[in-house]
Amino acid sequence: MLFLISKRVLAAFATVIAVIILSGILIHVVPGDPVTAMMAQSVSATPEAMADMRARLGLDLPVWQQVGLYAWHVLQGDFGRSIRGNESVAWLLLQRLPNTFSLAVCGLTVALAIGIPLGFLAAIKRGRLADTAVMVIAVLGVSIPAFWLGLIMIQVFSLKLGWLPVAGSSWRNIILPALTLGLTYCALVARMTRSALIEVLAEDYIRTARARGLRERQVLLVHALRPALISIVTVVGLVFAYLLGGQVIIENVFSWNGIGRLAVQAMLERDYPMIQGFIVVFATSVVIVSMLIDILYGFLDPRMRQR
């Protein structure tokens, strides 16, 4: 078990390093000299500031060394300073991380609360009308652009009915974006839950249980639920990653003040240190979550525990 955990932690760490290096390389994708590209956007672009930036980035060094330097800075928690406003990128991102996480968690909760029961229903009624209905909803669900759904939600619940606000950070403001995210991703959860349960229901011991004459409800709740939930745990990690991706757009639609909105603002302003920081922080979040889920899975699943 300990071996499993340390292996996962190491892999996650390696992934994060890889992401840092990648985002370090990305700045060299920008056409032209990166410092000019960066500082062309800044009022405070005095020659000294540019020279300072050059030295910091080690621009006289070969590219691989520059990237190394960037990675070295980032590992020490130094993401550089934003071009707009000259503030610490790490601080700007950290400030908004709680907002992003609370929205993601709320969105995930909605997705699970709707998706899991639907998935169960579909699996139990496999091949029947309820199953088809759930699966049709699921396909529809993944086909609706989240930002479009978000706009419709704002129109209906904020502008028309005046029930719920947007663009703040109190608990009332989180409802609409969380619902939008949840509704978009519940379809995914429903499908995965259905698959997981169907797989479990096909196992020999379930058949045995049925053969022994146990009532269907008992079979489902006692024998099938637990193993199915274990597979759902792995699914949660995956859904969480996708949800974080979709959240970037949703934060902008609702003017929710998370790092997704910060990032898009930075992208429109071409604030490169900020964008690099966003990529690293966002990717790290995804990596950490999936690592935790993997470890949790290890704890839950006896087969994994033995390894």
Binding site: T15, G245, I275
Partner: protein, 283 residues
């Protein structure tokens, strides 16, 4: 992009209703987009083609936008853009991803280990995020958005191709061919490709719906196709402030995205179970 789901063996080898439905929808959308220049009642860019913000009517079945442009014409023409971006991104993503996948499967242990590790890492990130990160550095615009989306699809296609190729690799005839001295390149071209090609095309349709969604999302954020191009996401972006006054500006392009994505999801989903290597690979 959607994630693989499990099903037990396909029940009958008959084309499911959903596939027919999806195919039908896709054909209609593709035809409407292709024939857009002949079908559109107005030049999609022409301002004051009708009154501003006119509700749907016979003259303007989808209504008009804030400049009095005919929305039906814009949505149809936008289809060409959206589908074009989707196709370009999927084809290039599939080619690059496919080659990487084949390379991983047939270029030896070391290459396999390294490539797989990299692909798996990238695959763990949502593709919208990868596209967004790339476009942030490449800059906005239709070409850059397409390139970014194509690259974001590479990990998915590489993974899928590798899975299919690895399954193929284990088959006895490959072993036999190898023993007969046929080199890897020829092996792949002559034996592996024909066998997995069909499956790859099916997987292609899955990436397509995700590419359309990514393109619309990027344009909506102002990072993809720029106005006045009638790309669906761009129409939504420039019309969003009219949500109360002229909701049709948002409804029709939004529906167009939904239906297109839906059609490819219907096709892909139903066929995927037949070809998904991760399903096949499971004990």
């Amino acid at each position: 992009m959607t994630v693989a789901t499990a099903t037990i063996k396909p029940r009958r080898r008959r084309m499911p209703v959903t596939v027919i439905l999806g195919l039908g929808l896709a054909v209609v959308i593709a035809a409407a987009s292709l024939l857009a220049p002949y079908l559109t009642p107005f030049d999609p860019m022409r301002m004051a083609a009708g009154p501003r913000l006119a509700a749907p009517s016979i003259a303007h079945p989808f209504g008009t936008d804030e400049f009095g442009r005919d929305l039906l014409s814009r949505v149809l023409t936008g289809g060409r853009l959206s589908l074009g971006i989707g196709i370009a991104a999927v084809v290039s993503g599939l080619v690059v991803g496919g080659l990487l996948g084949l390379l991983a499967a047939f270029a030896g242990r070391a290459v396999e280990a390294v490539l797989l590790r990299v692909v798996d890492v990238l695959y763990s990130f949502p593709d919208t995020l990868i596209a967004l990160a790339l476009v942030a550095f490449l800059g906005p615009g239709i070409e850059n958005a397409t390139l970014a989306i194509a690259i974001s699809l590479v990990p998915f296609y590489a993974r899928v191709t590798y899975g299919l190729a690895a399954a193929e690799r284990a088959k006895p005839y490959i072993e036999a061919a190898r023993l007969a001295g046929i080199n890897s390149g020829r092996l792949v071209r002559v034996h592996v490709m024909p066998n997995i090609g069909q499956s790859l095309i099916v997987m292609g349709t899955l990436g397509f719906s995700s590419a359309i969604l990514s393109a619309a999302g990027l344009s909506f954020l102002g990072l993809g196709v720029q106005p006045p191009s009638p790309e669906w996401g761009a129409i939504l972006a420039s019309g969003r402030n009219y949500i109360t006054k002229a909701p049709w500006i948002l409804i029709f392009p939004g529906l167009a995205i939904c239906l297109t994505v839906l059609s490819f999801n219907l096709i892909g989903d139903s066929l995927r179970d037949l070809v998904d290597p991760r399903r096949k690979g499971r004990p």
